[in-house]
Amino acid sequence: MNTGTKRRRAVVDQTACVACGCCVKACPLQAIEIVRGVTARVNEEKCVGCGRCARECPASVIGIREVEA
Protein backbone atom coordinates (compact mmCIF):
# COMPACT_ATOMS: atom_id res chain seq x y z
CA MET A 1 0.00 0.00 0.00
CA ASN A 2 1.40 3.38 -0.90
CA THR A 3 0.45 5.83 1.78
CA GLY A 4 2.44 8.64 0.23
CA THR A 5 4.60 9.00 3.35
CA LYS A 6 8.36 8.69 3.22
CA ARG A 7 10.53 6.57 5.48
CA ARG A 8 14.25 6.47 5.92
CA ARG A 9 16.17 3.32 5.08
CA ALA A 10 19.74 2.18 4.94
CA VAL A 11 20.98 1.36 1.44
CA VAL A 12 24.23 -0.58 0.92
CA ASP A 13 26.44 -0.12 -2.13
CA GLN A 14 26.88 -3.86 -2.49
CA THR A 15 29.67 -3.74 -5.07
CA ALA A 16 31.89 -1.83 -2.63
CA CYS A 17 30.90 -3.63 0.59
CA VAL A 18 33.76 -5.65 2.12
CA ALA A 19 31.43 -7.87 4.21
CA CYS A 20 33.27 -7.08 7.42
CA GLY A 21 30.08 -7.13 9.48
CA CYS A 22 30.67 -3.93 11.46
CA CYS A 23 27.19 -2.75 10.44
CA VAL A 24 25.61 -5.92 11.82
CA LYS A 25 27.13 -5.28 15.22
CA ALA A 26 26.01 -1.65 15.14
CA CYS A 27 22.36 -2.23 14.26
CA PRO A 28 20.10 -2.23 17.33
CA LEU A 29 17.29 -3.95 15.41
CA GLN A 30 19.16 -6.78 13.66
CA ALA A 31 17.98 -5.24 10.43
CA ILE A 32 21.18 -5.82 8.48
CA GLU A 33 23.01 -9.08 7.82
CA ILE A 34 25.93 -10.43 5.83
CA VAL A 35 24.88 -12.70 3.00
CA ARG A 36 27.26 -15.59 2.28
CA GLY A 37 30.34 -13.56 3.12
CA VAL A 38 29.90 -11.42 0.03
CA THR A 39 27.94 -8.35 1.02
CA ALA A 40 25.62 -6.77 3.59
CA ARG A 41 21.88 -6.74 3.02
CA VAL A 42 19.28 -4.54 4.71
CA ASN A 43 15.97 -5.97 5.81
CA GLU A 44 13.56 -3.34 4.49
CA GLU A 45 10.86 -4.35 6.96
CA LYS A 46 12.99 -3.96 10.06
CA CYS A 47 15.24 -1.03 9.18
CA VAL A 48 14.19 2.33 10.60
CA GLY A 49 16.97 4.33 8.97
CA CYS A 50 18.64 5.35 12.22
CA GLY A 51 22.03 5.45 10.50
CA ARG A 52 24.08 3.68 13.15
CA CYS A 53 25.33 1.14 10.64
CA ALA A 54 26.35 3.90 8.24
CA ARG A 55 28.39 5.65 10.92
CA GLU A 56 30.17 2.42 11.78
CA CYS A 57 30.85 1.13 8.25
CA PRO A 58 34.64 1.41 7.74
CA ALA A 59 34.20 1.61 3.98
CA SER A 60 31.39 4.20 4.26
CA VAL A 61 29.28 2.36 1.71
CA ILE A 62 25.93 2.70 3.51
CA GLY A 63 23.68 5.63 2.70
CA ILE A 64 20.44 6.63 4.40
CA ARG A 65 17.79 7.29 1.77
CA GLU A 66 14.21 8.36 1.80
CA VAL A 67 11.94 5.76 0.26
CA GLU A 68 8.21 5.50 -0.26
CA ALA A 69 6.63 3.78 2.70
Binding site: V18, C20, V24, I34
Partner: protein, 192 residues
Protein backbone atom coordinates in the same frame (compact mmCIF):
# COMPACT_ATOMS: atom_id res chain seq x y z
CA UNK B 1 23.27 -6.27 22.59
CA UNK B 2 24.25 -9.13 24.88
CA UNK B 3 27.96 -9.86 24.91
CA UNK B 4 29.10 -13.33 23.94
CA UNK B 5 32.36 -15.02 24.74
CA UNK B 6 33.69 -14.21 21.29
CA UNK B 7 33.20 -10.50 21.85
CA UNK B 8 36.22 -10.67 24.14
CA UNK B 9 38.65 -12.12 21.64
CA UNK B 10 40.33 -8.71 21.41
CA UNK B 11 41.98 -9.69 24.70
CA UNK B 12 43.60 -12.63 22.91
CA UNK B 13 44.88 -10.27 20.24
CA UNK B 14 46.46 -7.98 22.81
CA UNK B 15 47.98 -10.96 24.64
CA UNK B 16 49.41 -12.26 21.39
CA UNK B 17 51.19 -8.98 20.70
CA UNK B 18 52.50 -8.83 24.28
CA UNK B 19 53.73 -12.43 24.26
CA UNK B 20 55.87 -11.60 21.23
CA UNK B 21 57.85 -9.31 23.52
CA UNK B 22 58.37 -12.10 26.03
CA UNK B 23 59.17 -15.07 23.85
CA UNK B 24 59.07 -14.83 20.09
CA UNK B 25 58.12 -18.48 19.72
CA UNK B 26 54.56 -17.57 20.77
CA UNK B 27 54.29 -15.94 17.34
CA UNK B 28 53.45 -19.37 15.95
CA UNK B 29 50.02 -19.03 17.57
CA UNK B 30 49.29 -16.36 14.97
CA UNK B 31 48.78 -19.09 12.42
CA UNK B 32 45.36 -19.50 13.99
CA UNK B 33 44.30 -16.09 12.60
CA UNK B 34 45.36 -17.40 9.27
CA UNK B 35 43.85 -20.84 9.08
CA UNK B 36 40.60 -20.29 10.98
CA UNK B 37 39.28 -17.55 8.63
CA UNK B 38 40.38 -19.57 5.61
CA UNK B 39 38.66 -22.73 6.84
CA UNK B 40 35.47 -20.86 7.74
CA UNK B 41 35.29 -19.35 4.26
CA UNK B 42 36.35 -22.50 2.42
CA UNK B 43 34.05 -24.85 4.30
CA UNK B 44 31.26 -22.59 5.50
CA UNK B 45 31.32 -20.06 2.67
CA UNK B 46 31.00 -17.13 5.07
CA UNK B 47 33.12 -14.39 6.56
CA UNK B 48 32.20 -15.69 9.99
CA UNK B 49 35.71 -15.01 11.24
CA UNK B 50 35.53 -11.30 10.41
CA UNK B 51 31.91 -11.03 11.42
CA UNK B 52 32.39 -12.67 14.82
CA UNK B 53 35.71 -13.94 16.00
CA UNK B 54 38.42 -11.60 14.80
CA UNK B 55 40.00 -10.06 17.88
CA UNK B 56 42.06 -7.64 15.85
CA UNK B 57 38.99 -6.05 14.29
CA UNK B 58 37.39 -5.84 17.74
CA UNK B 59 40.50 -4.20 19.12
CA UNK B 60 40.42 -1.46 16.48
CA UNK B 61 36.69 -1.04 17.06
CA UNK B 62 37.28 -0.63 20.78
CA UNK B 63 40.27 1.72 20.60
CA UNK B 64 38.77 3.84 17.84
CA UNK B 65 35.21 3.71 19.14
CA UNK B 66 35.03 3.47 22.93
CA UNK B 67 38.41 5.08 23.50
CA UNK B 68 37.86 7.69 20.81
CA UNK B 69 41.24 7.25 19.12
CA UNK B 70 39.79 7.79 15.67
CA UNK B 71 38.85 10.83 13.60
CA UNK B 72 35.93 8.78 12.21
CA UNK B 73 36.37 10.21 8.74
CA UNK B 74 35.55 8.44 5.51
CA UNK B 75 38.33 6.32 4.08
CA UNK B 76 39.59 7.72 0.75
CA UNK B 77 37.97 6.20 -2.32
CA UNK B 78 41.15 4.63 -3.66
CA UNK B 79 41.70 2.68 -0.46
CA UNK B 80 38.43 0.84 -0.90
CA UNK B 81 38.87 0.31 -4.63
CA UNK B 82 39.23 -3.26 -5.84
CA UNK B 83 42.59 -2.37 -7.39
CA UNK B 84 44.06 -1.32 -4.06
CA UNK B 85 42.48 -4.12 -2.05
CA UNK B 86 43.57 -6.86 -4.42
CA UNK B 87 46.91 -5.16 -5.02
CA UNK B 88 47.59 -5.05 -1.29
CA UNK B 89 46.58 -8.71 -1.01
CA UNK B 90 49.11 -9.66 -3.69
CA UNK B 91 51.83 -7.50 -2.15
CA UNK B 92 51.15 -8.91 1.30
CA UNK B 93 51.39 -12.46 0.06
CA UNK B 94 54.51 -11.77 -1.95
CA UNK B 95 56.12 -10.48 1.23
CA UNK B 96 54.78 -13.47 3.11
CA UNK B 97 56.36 -15.91 0.70
CA UNK B 98 59.62 -13.99 0.87
CA UNK B 99 59.48 -14.49 4.62
CA UNK B 100 58.84 -18.21 4.12
CA UNK B 101 61.79 -18.38 1.75
CA UNK B 102 64.06 -16.74 4.32
CA UNK B 103 62.83 -19.24 6.86
CA UNK B 104 63.63 -22.03 4.46
CA UNK B 105 67.16 -20.72 4.01
CA UNK B 106 67.70 -20.91 7.76
CA UNK B 107 66.28 -24.43 7.84
CA UNK B 108 68.55 -25.41 4.97
CA UNK B 109 71.54 -24.00 6.83
CA UNK B 110 72.24 -21.48 4.08
CA UNK B 111 71.73 -18.55 6.38
CA UNK B 112 72.05 -17.79 10.09
CA UNK B 113 69.12 -16.93 12.30
CA UNK B 114 68.40 -13.22 12.40
CA UNK B 115 66.88 -12.13 15.67
CA UNK B 116 65.06 -9.16 14.23
CA UNK B 117 61.48 -8.05 13.75
CA UNK B 118 60.99 -6.20 10.50
CA UNK B 119 58.40 -3.44 10.57
CA UNK B 120 56.61 -2.28 7.44
CA UNK B 121 58.87 -4.62 5.44
CA UNK B 122 61.69 -2.12 5.91
CA UNK B 123 62.75 -1.32 9.45
CA UNK B 124 64.71 -3.99 11.28
CA UNK B 125 64.41 -3.93 15.05
CA UNK B 126 66.74 -6.01 17.18
CA UNK B 127 64.52 -8.41 19.08
CA UNK B 128 67.08 -10.71 20.70
CA UNK B 129 65.64 -10.12 24.17
CA UNK B 130 62.60 -12.20 23.22
CA UNK B 131 64.66 -15.14 22.10
CA UNK B 132 66.09 -17.57 24.60
CA UNK B 133 67.12 -20.37 22.30
CA UNK B 134 64.87 -23.15 21.11
CA UNK B 135 64.72 -26.89 21.52
CA UNK B 136 63.95 -27.01 17.86
CA UNK B 137 65.82 -25.95 14.77
CA UNK B 138 66.71 -22.22 14.53
CA UNK B 139 64.42 -22.16 11.49
CA UNK B 140 61.50 -22.53 13.88
CA UNK B 141 62.57 -19.29 15.52
CA UNK B 142 63.15 -17.63 12.17
CA UNK B 143 59.58 -18.30 11.19
CA UNK B 144 58.41 -16.87 14.51
CA UNK B 145 60.38 -13.65 13.93
CA UNK B 146 59.01 -13.43 10.41
CA UNK B 147 55.42 -14.12 11.36
CA UNK B 148 55.51 -11.71 14.27
CA UNK B 149 56.85 -9.07 11.88
CA UNK B 150 53.79 -9.59 9.69
CA UNK B 151 51.42 -9.37 12.65
CA UNK B 152 53.05 -6.27 14.15
CA UNK B 153 53.26 -4.55 10.78
CA UNK B 154 49.59 -5.09 10.07
CA UNK B 155 48.69 -3.91 13.56
CA UNK B 156 50.63 -0.70 13.02
CA UNK B 157 49.03 -0.07 9.63
CA UNK B 158 45.66 -0.81 11.19
CA UNK B 159 46.28 1.62 14.04
CA UNK B 160 47.33 4.38 11.65
CA UNK B 161 44.24 4.04 9.48
CA UNK B 162 42.12 3.66 12.64
CA UNK B 163 43.30 7.09 13.79
CA UNK B 164 43.01 8.72 10.36
CA UNK B 165 39.73 7.22 9.22
CA UNK B 166 37.08 5.02 10.83
CA UNK B 167 38.06 2.68 13.69
CA UNK B 168 37.98 -0.49 11.62
CA UNK B 169 39.41 0.96 8.39
CA UNK B 170 41.96 -1.85 8.40
CA UNK B 171 39.10 -4.25 7.63
CA UNK B 172 38.64 -2.55 4.26
CA UNK B 173 42.08 -3.61 3.01
CA UNK B 174 42.99 -6.42 5.44
CA UNK B 175 44.42 -9.22 3.27
CA UNK B 176 42.61 -11.92 5.26
CA UNK B 177 39.34 -10.04 4.90
CA UNK B 178 39.85 -9.52 1.18
CA UNK B 179 40.86 -13.11 0.62
CA UNK B 180 37.99 -14.62 2.59
CA UNK B 181 35.52 -12.38 0.77
CA UNK B 182 37.05 -13.50 -2.52
CA UNK B 183 36.66 -17.16 -1.54
CA UNK B 184 33.05 -16.52 -0.50
CA UNK B 185 32.37 -14.79 -3.81
CA UNK B 186 33.72 -17.76 -5.72
CA UNK B 187 31.71 -20.18 -3.63
CA UNK B 188 28.50 -18.14 -3.81
CA UNK B 189 25.89 -20.25 -5.60
CA UNK B 190 23.99 -17.14 -6.69
CA UNK B 191 27.06 -15.60 -8.27
CA UNK B 192 26.10 -13.80 -11.46
Amino acid sequence: MKKRWYDYLWIASVLYLLLGFVNILFAWLGLLCFFIPLLISLIGGTKGYCNRYCGRGQLFGLLGGRFGLSRKKDIPGWMKSKAFRYGFLVFFFAMFFLMLWNTYLVFAGARDLREVVTLLWTFRLAWNWAYHGTLFHPGVAQFAFGFYSVMLTSTILGLVTMVLFKPRSWCVYCPMGTMTQLICKMKDPTRP
